[in-house]
Point group: C2
Chain length 265, copies 2
């Protein structure tokens, strides 16, 4: 991330820099002695102190004190930001149009300005486990799917229908096709699995059983599953995570840190 | 606020800088391409992306993406932070002891490090109005206190008892001593006002009436007030703010911004 620091020597210079940066795609952090006023969901004022004002790429605005995890003021997005030199200092007015919220700040001395250019974050936020990890745990621990199930293949290709998460057999060696969802499954998930079963029959001439695995099922999914003879299997992703994935402090570094803190591991 | 920017050219150099800064009283912002794992109130992972990690003076930790007002991960305070050079990159483990929470981040390339030294924030957060502003509004609008009340003096000295917020007289020219609280008043507030009345009597030989003004009163305060013959007057600080204080977009700058946004003022 390309980072630059400006330490302007006057309020006017600070104004110029911030105005220029506001026309670019960047995260701007302005730090210095300042005061603030807010009107919107309520109204409040903050008497002078050293704080950092964070303006994100989407113009979300956060005002942070040097301590505490929560911002003392914030706006989810800002429709307009004005920057002005006044007798008191560098005044910034940040307006959110709907609902109307106004944050006014005054930096009482030339602040430092840090800018992070063109940050790109396409990363995904995964709670507990992703679908591949759930698949791998179920492949290793097929007892979670039911008695006597033996997994045979992951990502089984099934012609035009796509790839089934797990292909397995039961104790009578009858084929089972397993589809996994990490969020509540709706009727589309049932129909997707049904297409695998139809394709499997077309390819092999054998009728496979279908098992749809998910943390929950919509009413429509349950209805469709009954109609199509598909088995539904409920799992808790949190339990899978806690039983089979959680790092039991396997980090050496973490272990010594916990030791140092006197925390039992 | 003394601000410094470091742009280390290697992971090892970044580690050294961060370890050194962690021994000082400062806010540290580390920015770069990174991934994260969290275990505590739940568990989650964040695949690689450009983000900023904020470590505050009290070691509250916030992880922010380039957009959105809310952090993607945070810890209210951190008991220990370790920094390590690994084959993947710069690894930081942040542990909160109780309740136990662990945030692991890995910067996949040397991050930029911005440091804000010795920030001091003694400022107070005032919701709506402070006591002096409430006093001034009531002094200007005594009808809010009751019919026929005429304010005479603010911060009336009353010997050892201190200063009464407002000294007034009623339509019969009888003295009234008014004490204002901006939060719910308890029995101590009633006793404080009673001390003013006792002192007033001692100084002048005249018995004044007492009025305690607050947004609310504890049960004990009500009992004491009845016992001591003190009048309680409830006010809404929010209404006082909205009726008598709110800036009706008197800022020229704000006015033109709202115009620009097409917001009626």
């Amino acid at each position: 991330v390309k980072t630059e620091l400006y330490t302007p020597s006057s309020i006017g210079e600070a104004q110029e820099i911030i105005e220029r940066l506001l026309r670019r795609n960047c995260v701007i952090i302005i730090a210095g002695n300042m005061k603030a006023e807010y009107e919107g969901r309520g109204a409040s004022r903050l008497t002078p102190g050293d704080r950092i004002l964070i303006i994100k790429q989407d113009r979300a605005v956060l005002l942070h004190r040097p301590e505490g995890y929560s911002p003392i003021n914030w706006q989810p997005d800002t429709s307009a930001i004005s920057v002005k030199t006044t007798s008191e200092g560098l005044k910034m007015i940040m307006i959110r149009k709907t609902p109307r919220e106004i944050l006014r700040v005054v930096f009482l001395e030339p602040p430092s300005i840090t800018v992070y250019h063109d940050m790109v974050d396409q990363g995904s936020f995964i709670e507990y486990l992703d679908e591949h990890e759930i698949r791998d745990i179920l492949f290793e621990h097929p007892e979670l799917l039911g008695e006597g199930i033996k997994p045979v293949e992951k990502e089984k290709p099934l012609g035009d229908a796509g790839y089934a998460d797990i292909y397995a057999v039961n104790k009578n060696n009858e084929p089972i096709i397993i589809e996994i969802k990490r969020v509540n499954a709706d009727h589309n998930a049932v129909l997707q699995l049904y297409r695998y079963l139809v394709e499997y029959k077309k390819l092999t001439g054998i009728t496979a059983k279908g098992v749809l695995v998910a943390p929950g099922f919509t009413k429509q999914a349950v209805r469709e599953a009954i109609r199509l003879g598909i088995t539904l299997k409920q799992i808790s992703i949190r339990s899978l995570y806690e039983q089979y994935y959680k790092k039991k402090t396997k980090d050496k570094e973490l272990h010594s840190l916990l030791d140092y803190l006197g925390v039992k591991t």
